[in-house]
Amino acid sequence: MQEKTAKKILIVEDEKELALGLATLFKAQGYLVIAAHDSMFGISLAHKEKPDLIILDLGLPAGGGLHVLRNLKNSVETFDIPVLVLTAQQGMNLEEDVKQLGAVAFFHKPFEPESFLSRVKDILNNNC
């Protein structure tokens, strides 16, 4: 019988305190967590680890989150990994733009942890 493995979440976030908070939240739910603090490392980790979900911040150093999102969605290895976008930026069509690029969900910072977590669970369950 095959052992059920825990889902893996990649956090690409330059705010280390927020990344730590997210990691704690996900680990408490039994998920595996890996983290990157800039764009390039985020992309390479996504290719190497093939996570079940990517939590992506838009305001990243070294390229920015939109660059990461485009890169992930244009790669045959990572295009099907769901991406949930977080941002502190404000813009009228930001959510639409990000979803058009292929993100499955969008949250403005500071977000409600409960609704955020329930969205993460939904995405991971649909992805089973």
Binding site: E15, E17, G21, L25, A28, Q89, Q90, P110
Partner: protein, 329 residues
Amino acid sequence: MNKQDKSNKIDHKLVLQELKENPYKKFNIAFVLMVIMPFLVFLYLLTSRLFDFSILIGNIGFILFLTFFISLCGFYIGFSILKNIFNKILSYAAQAKHSDQLKSTFVATVSHELKNPLASIKINIYNIFSGFIGQVNEEQKNVLGICQSIIERMNRLVNGLLDLHKIEAGVADVKRTSFNLGEISERKIKELQGLADKKNIKIIREFLDKGLSVWGDEDKLSQAIINILDNGIKFTPDNGNITLKIYSDDKFAKLECIDTGCGIPEDKIGVLFNKFERLNATKEGTGLGLAITKDIVEMHKGKVLVESQVGKGSKFILVLPRDLRSIIR
């Protein structure tokens, strides 16, 4: 390449605005110098010699030379003035564009620098509160609950400041559509119904013009409605009433929020719309709601009026022009 082209492009709107506001007088002077003055001189010289044809014919060369010379001077001076005006307009336009960029940068920086730490604090407190890091007793949970409500207050304050800055700096995202004022108000009442129920406050609807539609930014005007409603609920004692009235005349759409609250002293009405002005420090609020409301309504070329009687209640009236579309265009 395209981006650079775009940044070098002159903002024609600003040039037109500048033309409209400033140099009319200078333009008139230039026009007089370039066209009317030479013509008048020519006319004067012509008529002064009109009755003596021999003088006229004898001096025609001189007259033409003088007229041509004066015309040339007029043209030169007029052209110099026009050139100066145009250079000034272009430099104004460049300055205005630079200042707009600074304002947008401010919004982006404030958003990033304040919202990121707020998000970090919020999620980490949630983790402690939920016991993900270790067991937490009731007393500790109470303290964490206080921290959570402070974070919410700070978030509201940051959002309020950003909204206000964006509107005042003219960098707010504006999406104008035509929408029904009654439907929007009904939605906003529903959003605040819970808050009103807690104080047993009855919200009465008096939508006299049910089909009244307004052309403007739906989200922003919704925010203005919610601000005055929220304000009314805050300052109305338990078991009171709030009436939301919508009506119109030929020129204006009007929305009134009438409460049976404590009222506002006359000397305080003048400062009511100032930023951070809180008439009652015991009530929760950022002191920005009414300032934002005023800015939003004024952005739609409207006005916010206040009538109040201490001990009886207050009436806030949002007055919006009905033909807003033609005014803003």
